[in-house]
């Protein structure tokens, strides 16, 4: 144990405190929460979780969120792969301008787009569908995916492409069987970021849905209105939103460590 490892330990403790408080609160009854301060749940209860798992208006929120996040990740990576290849291998008219324009879309505040998005997706009759949210999130996820993948592809020597073509590979076969496997760390990192930014975004997801595709994060706002302020239920729902992210990051943990370093990101 080195002396300097105290810094990450203190930092991680600081990160965990609010999370601990959320989890601890989710096991308390609303009465206990409101009656005073307690570091650990005194009357340990699973009622908050039971409510969420038995009430369709709660658990459908999770299903909806996972549905649009998955669709978005698949679409973003699928279209970003060929585009990133083009940017990393070829010069073409307007390539630099196009790349910069893509990045500017990350700079537009989502609040700016909320109302026009509502009108646009209502006009194309996609309002309140998973696809609408998935497509809307492409606005900021595709530029990010292109950016990350282009960095990783730049690290793959061009000789790989040339050798494959000399060996008689067609382009699609080369791309699918040789090129993509050689940047799979990059695909992992890009997919992770797409998942992350789509999972945590609420403003657009909430604007584009009403009932059928309502995300969990929007469902949570109902604890504030119905039957007072049910903090325990809110805490339990919040705790459950951490789990998908934790699972995804566990899968890509080695890519994150090595992956960033390989690409220019």
């Amino acid at each position: 144990m080195q002396k300097r490892s105290i810094v990450p330990i203190v930092y991680i403790l600081f990160l965990m405190l609010p999370i601990y408080w959320l989890v601890a609160m989710s096991f308390k009854t609303t009465n206990e929460i409101l009656s005073g301060f307690s570091l650990f749940p005194q009357t340990f209860t699973l009622d908050n979780y039971a409510t969420i798992f038995t009430d369709p208006s709660w658990y459908w929120g999770y299903i909806n969120s996972i549905a649009y996040v998955s669709i978005n990740t698949v679409i973003s990576i699928a279209v970003a792969l060929p585009a990133a290849y083009a940017f990393s291998r070829y010069r073409f008219l307007g390539d630099k301008q196009l790349f910069f324009w893509l990045l500017t879309n990350r700079m537009a505040p989502a609040a700016v787009f909320a109302l026009p998005f509502f009108q646009l997706y209502s006009a194309v009759e996609l309002f309140d569908t998973h696809l609408a949210v998935a497509l809307a999130h492409c606005l900021f996820n595709i530029p990010l995916a292109v950016w990350i993948l282009e960095g990783f592809m730049g690290g793959v020597p061009k000789e790989l492409d040339e050798t494959a073509f000399v060996d008689g590979y067609s382009f699609p076969r080369f791309f699918a069987t040789i090129f993509i496997p050689s940047i799979k760390a990059g695909v992992g990192v890009a997919a992770f970021f797409c998942f992350m930014f789509s999972w945590v975004e609420l403003l657009l997801a909430k604007t584009l849905t009403a009932v059928a595709a309502k995300p969990i994060a929007a469902t949570m706002t109902k604890t504030a209105s119905s039957a007072g302020y049910e903090l325990g239920l809110l805490a339990a729902a919040g705790t459950l939103t951490i789990i998908p992210g934790a699972i995804v990051i566990w899968f890509v943990r080695n890519y994150i460590a090595k992956g960033f370093a390989m690409g220019r990101v």
Partner: protein
């Protein structure tokens, strides 16, 4: 060397179509609103650039913009050095590396309104862990619904909690890409820790740091959900950042024209500052 090939456009077309659909059409809607006045029922009147002049001259906009710059300045000045310091003290290999990375990335994967709600219950004066500790153990009077300074400290702390890990992850990625030979050479030369940092580690982290600073700038400048859930812009208007003010005008008062003009000014400022950052930080590479 990249080869010239105009057919590469076909590879870019799907991306272009999807992003243009989401960016250009709503943007045109915003531009359209920004030069018109409406009283509902889809009846519009030409307004010219009046809204822009009105916004640019309004004290309310100046105040929100000032708060926004203060917020972004504070979080950059805290998160960037802190993130670098943490990345420098992390282990380079072994069992603890993935554990550290996973735990550190966790806050970034929590939906933004949950982050706000979580900090809300964490800081409640009598029943939140932090609020209770400050009020009843340390005896500091702390209530962010009453005290603007407490509200500011809370939103800045929340953002540091939420996003410092992004700087850590990116800096760490830059650090692990430095070959051991560099450190050995520095040791032979008898270089100090500072010299190692200044001449080996910092240059290697430059690219990833540029990205980290740009991302943190854009995202903190556009921040909406977390402070909205945590403080609602209060007490008073003390934490009403640009996005919160914008949504108040657009959806609260339904003043579409001024809101649209404000959106465009807001977007232009973000674009300009990002471009300045980018040019300044990549200046050396171009020379």
């Amino acid at each position: 060397m990249k080869t010239e090939n105009q057919k590469a456009w076909f590879f870019v077309l799907p991306v272009l179509a999807l992003v243009a659909f989401n960016a250009l059409i709503p943007m045109m809607t915003v531009v359209n609103y920004s030069v018109q006045e409406t009283f509902g029922d889809n009846v519009f009147f030409w307004q010219g650039l009046d809204w822009f002049q009105q916004i640019l001259r309004s004290d309310r906009f100046h105040a929100a913009l000032g708060r926004q710059f203060l917020f972004t300045f504070l979080i950059l000045i805290i998160e960037v050095p802190l993130g670098i310091a943490i990345a420098l003290s992390m282990p380079r290999k072994g069992f603890w590396v993935p554990v550290c990375l996973v735990l550190m990335a966790l806050p970034m994967l929590i939906p933004w309104n949950v982050v706000g709600a979580m900090w809300n219950i964490f800081t409640l004066p009598d029943i939140g862990l932090l609020g209770y500790f400050l009020n009843h153990v340390l005896g500091i009077s702390y209530d962010m619904t009453q005290n603007p300074i407490a509200a500011w400290v809370t939103i800045v702390t929340m953002d540091v909690w939420h996003w410092t890990s992004l700087v850590v992850l990116l800096s760490y990625a830059g650090l692990v890409s430095i070959p051991d030979a560099y450190y050995q050479a520095a040791k032979i030369d008898g270089a100090s820790n500072w010299a190692v940092f200044r001449f080996i580690q910092l240059p290697k982290m430059k690219t990833v740091l540029t990205i980290a600073i740009l991302l943190r700038f854009m995202d903190s400048f556009n921040i909406y959900t977390e402070p909205f859930v945590l403080t609602g812009g209060g007490p008073g208007n003390s934490t009403t950042l640009l996005s919160i003010d914008l949504v108040k005008i657009a959806l609260g008062q339904f003043d579409l024209g001024p809101a649209a003009a404000m959106s465009l000014i807001y977007f232009a400022i973000t674009l300009l500052v990002s471009w300045l950052f980018y040019t300044l930080m990549t200046k050396d590479d171009l020379n």
